[in-house]
């Protein structure tokens, strides 16, 4: 059996392929980390409250639920719950959120804060 041609050394095409792969990694991870909040909106839902705000403008929203007032802070492209009347304060501990699809939920006070993007359709499997 005669081997056709031994391809031992690295060739230009190899570098090109590796470069393509690395650029794919860089481009898509950049998309993941930076471009997610453009044009995103924040939807706040409670039993007697339903409103949406832009992620860009800074403001403090007081949402009244069954237990009392949950204070939602929107600042510098981030959203978080600063005060809540609930017992365990899980919503406060969930911290600052900025990506499309992120949620802050307070079950005792029935408040849902959600960052929604344009044309985003996420189902239960993906989340």
């Amino acid at each position: 059996m005669t081997v056709k041609k031994k391809r031992t050394r690295l060739r230009p095409g190899d570098c090109a392929i590796v470069a393509i792969a690395v650029s794919l990694i860089v481009v898509f991870s950049c998309r993941y980390f930076f471009a997610s909040s453009g044009g995103a909106r924040i939807e706040i839902t409670a039993p007697s409250y339903d409103d949406s705000f832009s992620l860009e403008e800074n403001r403090v929203v007081d949402v009244s639920g069954p237990l009392g007032i949950t204070r939602v802070v929107i600042r510098d492209g981030e959203v978080w719950v600063s005060e809540s009347p609930c017992k365990q304060k899980i919503c406060v501990k969930m911290g600052h959120k900025h990506r499309v699809g992120d949620q802050i939920i307070c079950i005792p006070n029935r408040v849902l804060v959600e960052i929604v993007g344009k044309g985003e359709q996420v189902d239960g499997i993906a989340r």
Partner: protein, 176 residues
């Protein structure tokens, strides 16, 4: 299209048994590697090195494209039969990945072989395989933009696994 064959007899001709022997031998080797790789514990189920792909690479250097195609097809089906994933979701994904990466590697090897070594062809094949699987998962099972967040991770694994299996394929083609 391709240069003069490297094992000279045709399958139907007098020495055809030798070619058949090579296809069967390489398929056995690929199945063994696929199952051995399946046994290795890994943090994520779809993290693979693709050692069976190294055998495909080696096969390109001694067999004709058509025979490599049969090799790829038979090793995917046989490995899935042995692992018990035949006709399951895993099987659909592995067949689609194997066939698409075969097409790309075949094109690269036949027409652009001057510019690529086996390592480059292997990385290209691994990339194609992973991206096809992602597309198919997205089209059939999940249907969400969110699965594109996996692209960097999958590409990283494809890069690492492709280089490893390419080196292994090169080792095979130099030493068998």
């Amino acid at each position: 299209m391709y240069k003069k064959s490297y094992i000279s007899e045709s399958i139907r001709g007098a020495g055809g048994r030798r070619r058949l022997f090579y296809i069967a031998f390489l398929a056995t080797m690929a199945i063994f590697l696929a199952i051995a790789e399946h046994m290795i514990p890994k943090p994520l189920p779809w993290m693979r090195i693709g050692l069976a792909n190294a055998v495909t690479l080696y096969a390109f250097t001694i067999l004709r494209p058509k025979e490599v195609f049969f090799l790829v097809l038979s090793r995917t089906v046989a490995a899935s039969l042995l692992l018990g994933s035949f006709l399951s979701v895993t099987f659909v994904l592995s067949v689609s990945g194997a066939l698409s990466s075969f097409c790309v590697m075949c094109l690269l090897y036949l027409f652009f072989g001057r510019w690529f070594s086996l390592v480059g062809i292997s990385v290209a094949g691994a990339l194609t395989s992973n991206m096809t699987q992602l597309l198919i998962v997205n089209a059939l099972f999940i249907q969400s933009d969110l699965s594109y967040y996996f692209i960097p991770i999958l590409t990283g694994f494809a890069l690492a696994g492709g280089i490893l299996s390419g080196l292994f394929g090169r080792f095979l083609s130099e030493n068998i």
